[in-house]
Amino acid sequence: MNVMYFAWVRERIGIPQEEVTTEAATVNDLVAELRSREDRYAAAFADISALRVALDQELSDFDAPLKDVREVAFFPPMTGG
């Protein structure tokens, strides 16, 4: 699946998006997998309460299943307006 990062999440990880092959069942499982990869992921995902997630461009929850999801995006709370 395509995993995207925005704002300071993108800056901490160092890339805007990447293709990730995973068996993760939920967003939380995916986060755990990414965290264990490298320090920059651990830093970006240190505090999940400071993050939001969108699945296929719809805001979602960290316990949501990833079955059939093609695009996951992680970002801080939005600041539009």
């Binding site: 995207m4 925005f6 461009q57 695009e71 970002f75 801080p76 939005m78």
Partner: protein
């Protein structure tokens, strides 16, 4: 209903005039324009990042909710992204309705939802450095009042 996400500057006055032009079914037009603020005179620019695939549809859904909730004749949302200078317009909303109460309430609703539910992130570039603007708890709290009734 019009939703535009763009980097180009817009002319709020011209947008507002064309929004209501020729309509005879409305008695009220309400608009809000957000401007890049620099009260301390330290801001060099405001960088606005967005999620291109999601932004247009997220704003359209918010606008549709406003259209359904109030009897609006029309609504307009323009939101910019990219590097903006102090004093530049960031975004505008306009609502048109038969009566002012609906037009005001819908504009207020649109602003509250755009602040916390449209995928934009602001970064302030100052002489001292760069900093992401943090979301405010009161912006999230502001959504609660629309859930109450």
């Amino acid at each position: 209903m019009q939703v535009r996400v763009q980097s180009e500057r817009f002319d709020a006055g011209a947008e507002l005039n064309s929004f209501a032009d020729g309509r005879t079914d409305i008695g009220a037009v309400v608009s809000f324009t957000g401007v890049v603020r620099d009260t301390d005179q330290t801001l060099q620019e405001m960088q606005i990042e967005h999620y291109p695939g999601m932004t247009q549809s997220a704003i359209s859904k918010i606008a549709q909710q406003a259209m359904q909730r109030w009897e609006l004749a029309d609504c307009l949302v323009i939101h910019r992204y990219g590097a903006l200078k102090p004093g530049a317009p960031i975004m505008m909303v306009a609502t048109a309705a038969a009566h002012r109460a609906a037009a005001f309430a819908a504009a207020d609703f649109l602003m509250d939802y755009l602040k916390s539910r449209a995928p934009f992130w602001k970064k302030e570039i100052t002489q001292q450095g760069a900093q992401w603007v943090a979301a405010k708890d009161e912006d999230e709290d502001a959504l609660q009042r629309w859930a109450a009734d």
